[in-house]
């Protein structure tokens, strides 16, 4: 019963809060790996900080190492990690591709 209530509550507030396309992914640019990036990052911080960056693959790689070694992030499985790095360096690389779209 509570779950039904909960779902209808989410539906009811959906248009005003965070559940439309852009918003569900917090504005992350579309692309392969978006979902993996969303769930990997969102557990600790909002996507706003991700979307501001324009970093090389190497720099994103260092960020992930830092997140895992010092910031308590669970380690990603290798395939997932590759997807995340591909997505981030392609769309949030030094040319800031996603920001200029």
């Amino acid at each position: 019963m509570r779950i039904v209530l909960l779902v209808s509550l989410l539906v009811a507030i959906a248009p005003a809060s965070a559940l439309s396309d852009e918003d569900e992914w917090d504005g992350l640019a579309p692309g392969e790996g978006r979902e993996e990036v969303y769930y990997a990052c969102q557990a600790c911080h909002s996507l706003a900080i991700v979307k501001q960056q324009g970093l090389s693959r190497e720099s994103w790689d260092e960020s992930l190492i830092w997140m895992v070694e010092e910031q308590g992030m669970p380690e990603l499985v290798p395939e997932e990690r590759e997807l995340v790095l591909d997505y981030l360096s392609k769309l949030y690389g030094p040319d800031r591709k996603a920001q200029s779209q």
């Binding site: 779950i3 809060s17 992914w25």
Partner: protein, 437 residues
Amino acid sequence: MPRDDTTTHQDTLKLYELYEQDPALADRLLYGRVAHGDRRGFLRGAGLAAMGALVGAAIPFHRTMPSGFVPLALAATEGEIPGKEGLTILNDRPVNAETPAHLLNDEITPTSRHFVRNNGIPPDEMDAQSWRLTIDGLVDKPMTLSIDELSKQFEVVTQQLTIECGGNGRAFFEPPAKGNQWTYGAVACSEWTGVRLADVLKAAGVKPNVVYTAHVGADTHLSGDPDKLPISRGVPIEKAMNPSNLIAFAQNGAAINPMNGAPLRLVIPGWPGSCSQKWLKRVWLRDKVHDGPKMTGTAYRVPRDPVAPGTKVAKEDFVIIEAMPVKSLITSPETGITLEQRELPVHGHAWAGDDEVKSVQLSIDFGATWIATDLTSPRNPYAWQSFSKTVSFPSPGYYEVWARATDTKGREQPFAIAWNPKGYLNNSLHRVAVTVL
């Protein structure tokens, strides 16, 4: 970008399904909330504080709030920080927000326009009555004091103090530097009331072998790990004993804004804002350079020697940032204005780390010639100074007004950014665009 309704529907469903199948997991993913065993309410901690920060208040009945419940208030408060007005929000978890330059025109920055730089999740208890500050480590007499005791045992002073984030101006780095992309507005100069850090340390008795302070706040780590501090920085003991540093309990004559560190914070002006620990719980004195989170590695550090943009620098070649460099900001007019007349009063502020500003000059011809301005003296050490000058444009057209401050040691703001890997200390001169009709 065209909206793909099929994807929307599926993605939305995924979230609903997740909540339906495992509300606790959905909560953990979305808010970092951890449910109580009975799945009703959630544990006090980072998740609760995060949600409290989002809705703008502590949630007194959080224990009975069902796991997997999205507070209605979230929709209404999205993009707003209680007590703040006109700030540009760079990040909402953790909260990071800067003030557009033209909203920093006041001599004393109103609390509503003081930037916010959080590293973790603010504490959900910020009660001034029950707050305690501990001074310990290498002192003769460790102390734990309430705010009331601090204000009764030590002289209470009010000073106007400049705080600037070490990464202010990072947005203009090429290649881009990692971190919040601050433009101009991670700087403020409010009036702070409190007791001198030096007085309190003297009362505790600083042992002769102390070299560094270590500051600890009550904010919690983003990961929710209670054993991790989000940030704990310090300063050399010589800097700590400067009489301008405050343990502050009031901002502009009223309560400190929760996002600015209520009810107690350090204000260590002239150095990166991160030295001014918010929600201050403890100052401990150490016989070595403090090694807390964001003291080590490359955080708040720059290469010892200048490097070409994009250079990879080895960790051992970085040094800790101390005083912030000379800088100025044009706060009137707002950039992009169109003028019908030829005369324009220009106003702004300038500051110079541990020093004073000697002069501020303006240029309206892309730096070919410079015009002296009227510059005020600081109201007290570490208060920013204000410059004013009415400039005249010779003809219609596009102009830029540039401001350039020089400190008492003769150092002036550069045109170009001294690039460094982490995007700190950008004091390149500020430019505003003006079109004269």
